[in-house]
Amino acid sequence: MTSSNNSLLREPAFRIHKHRRFCISLTVVLVIFSVLGIILSWLSPIHAPLKPGLDFTGGTAIQVERICKSSCTDFSIIDLRKQLPPGAVVQTLDAGKGVSVRSLALTPAESGELVEKIDKVVGPLQASATQINTIGPLLGSQLLRSSLLALIVSFIGVAIYISLRYARLYAAMALLCLSHDVLLTSGLFAWLGLLFGVEVDSLFAVALLTLAGYSINDTVVVFDRIREQQQVLPDLTVEDQVDRAVAGTIRRSIYTTVATELPILALILFGGETLYWFAVALFVGVAIGGWSSIGLIPPVLPLVGGKLPQKQSELSLSLGE
């Protein structure tokens, strides 16, 4: 690299170190809020850190759509209940246009019969809009196990990669950042489950796992900036080093976060019901990931003390130069 390094030498206009008290207190508050949500959820009748959906508990969910001319005629929910297996839960959707039923896992034959019974009470139904999901109880626990395993594997994978490319201190920071992002997103959904009955399904697990890989991007960019600065300014204090790195990357972090959030926002608004909470989880997670690259890792890094480790980057791009 033969370019000048003026941009790295310039005095930073923004110093995150000055705001560290605010950042750390906000983080502490958010973490307490999340842990509290998870504990309350555990103590409540839900009796789990997050309200588990069909994918985890197993069971059958049937959703039907009624054929309505202008408005939907009322039907007796008591009559409907009589037709259902014991312990089943009924919900009406879209101002009575749709009906959803949840019960213990049914065989395909039983589900088919149930749809016919529902049809007798609330019909006529639009047959092509019926949705049946049955998850065996065994599959639910398998999903939980494989999701947790995937989470651990990707944590370890990221940690190994960062310690190879940077240093072990940064790997520890990356893990802190990942755990923070996953914890806060889970915490929010614990509250959503407690207050609004929002359930987590396999898509939520996917969202968390995606965040486990993606949300660290912004933080890695900060690490990369520090590494670059160290070649020009090796003798700065840790605070100064971090402040300069954050000042040099903050705009990029915000822009990237916005650019990633925009399609997710479109997904929340127009993606339909199936993807709604998945998109919300991603939206929140990406925002938290952006925040942790500014407000979590930079203020915490100087607290570790000592000098920041130095390692040269072996990567460079040479296309058509």
């Binding site: 690299m1 003026n6 759509e65 065989t107 395909p108 589900s111 088919g112 047959a127 092509s128 809009a129 019926t130 949705q131 999901n133 049955t134 998850i135 065996g136 065994l138 599959l139 494989s146 999701s147 995937a150 989470l151 990707s154 994978g157 990669y161 960062i162 490319r165 396999s202 898509l203 996917v206 796992l209 995606t210 486990a212 890989g213 660290i216 912004d218 890695v220 960019v221 690490f223 990369d224 900036r225 990237t256 650019a259 925009l262 399609p263 997710i264 926002l265 479109a266 997904l267 127009f270 993606g271 339909g272 199936t274 993807l275 998109a279 990567l315 460079s316 791009l317 296309l319 058509g320």
Partner: protein, 485 residues
């Protein structure tokens, strides 16, 4: 500057190729987008098989494939998943009941002779069974049977002094008694003389002057000999020939004395249980496909109607287009000309991405599309890193051309690291997840890898191209912060 031109030619060639691919190869849509049923079957260990070996899973898969073909669902697929699961996809099927019936049972056919000296007990049990079935038919509203079985059934139950099972309704009580009766009938037969492995074909036909159907069987040579021997051994006695399916007796027949010398020869037989047309057809499909070497259980059933699927496609299409448009507006607003280049690169990215889906082919599911939409945002991330770097170089009073070059090469290591960590978690998801989860991980991985290419190569080449027009070499067109320039 020959290299950028080389890249440009490559990009153009890829773009034309992608359009061509998308025109000739249709994207394959998952069942949640086109409507249909997906059944997941768990293969369970039984008998001496304690662990499901890959060859056993394959054997089960083959039988299921034959049965699915017998059902006549077009484009149905049977794939194995993990160590012990098989996924059956039935496009267009909204009510998977019939398929579940046919696929979910083992269909192990056994031919057995009745034990010696059990004739009297058998007669009693058979009478009880017929009465129970008649009564159940009557309760279900199908009862045309005369005389009314109620009284004689009551007498018989009292005389047998059976304990009344605890169940809510009369129907359930009778069903429990019937199941028990069937078990006792099965117990009166000898171990199987031979099994359905000696079948070479099965068919069905309607019985003359009747609504019920029979299933015809044809044996191979060994099966034919064994059937002859079996029928010979009971011919002319009052003992019955029992045909059991999965341990349940589906037919009990007596063999006339005329077969006492040679047995029933010719290698064919028919089962004349009281089959409905559909039952006969199901049994035919199952017997033709062969018995499952291991029992299966349906553990997952996802059925989506085609209207819902179409709605899902529409929703995700709107979200994808709107998402791309929003990102485009944002990038042009922030970065002006380079932003425009990034949007062009993004469009190329979407085009290449869809072409790859069609080529591999990747079956698009709802989570898969979500992965694609998410990767749109991630794809511009690399451009943002590059342009921020370029901006810094411009602030240092470097030339436009040089700033762009430095921006690209300096941003590379952090772009690479960021993409790599995302790929690590995608790999974990694809490796450990199944079904929907894997679909998402695969589309996201393709997106991440491809965005490395488009953000670095495409936007760089396009930017070079634009920089070759002096009219466009104006600082205010670049990166949109004239105040600092």
């Amino acid at each position: 500057m020959s290299k950028p031109q080389g890249w440009l030619a490559l990009i153009l060639a890829l773009a034309i190729g992608s359009v061509f691919v998308l025109r000739s190869l249709p994207l394959s849509l998952g069942l949640d987008l086109r409507g249909g049923s997906q059944l997941t079957l768990l293969v369970k260990p039984a008998g001496i098989v304690k662990k499901i070996e890959p060859n056993k899973l394959e054997a089960v898969q083959e039988v299921l494939e034959r049965r699915v073909n017998g059902l006549g669902v077009s484009e149905a697929t049977v794939t194995s998943s993990g160590e012990n699961k098989i996924i059956v996809q039935l496009p267009g099927v909204q009510d998977p009941r019939k398929a579940a019936d046919v696929l979910g049972t083992t269909a192990m056919l056994e031919f057995r002779a009745q034990k010696l000296n059990t004739e009297q007990e058998m007669t009693g049990l058979m009478r009880l069974k017929r009465l129970l079935e008649a009564k159940l038919d009557q309760l279900a509203g199908r009862g045309k049977s005369k005389p009314d079985p109620t009284n004689s059934l009551k007498d018989l139950l009292t005389s047998l002094n059976l304990p009344t099972p605890e169940a809510a309704t009369e129907k359930e009580q009778l069903e429990i008694i019937l199941a028990d009766t069937n078990r006792r009938i099965v117990a009166l037969f000898d171990p199987p003389a031979f099994t359905g492995t000696h079948l070479i074909d099965a068919g069905r036909q309607q019985q003359p002057n009747s609504e019920s159907w029979e299933v015809t069987l044809r044996f191979d040579r060994i099966g034919g000999d064994q059937f002859a021997a079996l029928t010979k051994s009971i011919a002319g006695t009052n003992r019955l020939l029992g045909i059991m399916l999965d341990g349940k007796s589906i037919s009990e027949a007596s063999v006339g004395p005329q077969f006492a010398t040679a047995g029933i020869t010719g290698g064919s037989a028919s089962i004349t249980g009281q089959f409905s047309a559909e039952q006969a057809r199901n049994l035919e499909v199952q017997l033709r496909g062969g018995a499952l070497p291991l029992p299966v259980e349906i553990i997952e059933n996802r059925s989506v109607g085609p209207t819902l699927g179409a709605e899902n496609v529409r929703n995700s299409l709107v979200a994808a287009i709107l998402g791309t448009a929003l990102v485009g507006v944002f990038m042009i607003f922030i970065y002006r000309l380079p932003g425009f280049v990034a949007v062009l690169a993004l469009c190329l990215y979407a085009l290449f991405n869809l072409a790859i889906y069609a080529l591999i082919p990747v079956t698009l599911t709802l989570p898969g599309i979500a992965g694609f939409i998410l990767s749109i945002g991630m794809a511009v991330d690399a451009n943002i890193l590059i342009f921020e770097r370029t901006k810094e170089e411009l602030q240092d009073k470097n030339s436009l051309f040089r700033s762009v070059e430095v921006g690209f090469s300096r941003a590379f290591s952090s772009i690479f690291d960021g993409h790599f960590t995302t790929l690590i978690s995608c790999a974990a998801l694809a490796w450990l997840g199944s079904g929907l989860v894997r679909g998402f991980a695969i589309t996201l991985s393709i997106g991440v890898l491809l965005s490395l290419f488009t953000a670095l190569t495409c936007s760089r080449t396009l930017l070079h191209l634009l920089l070759s027009y002096p009219a466009l070499r104006r600082p205010w067109l670049f990166l949109g912060s004239p105040s600092v320039l």
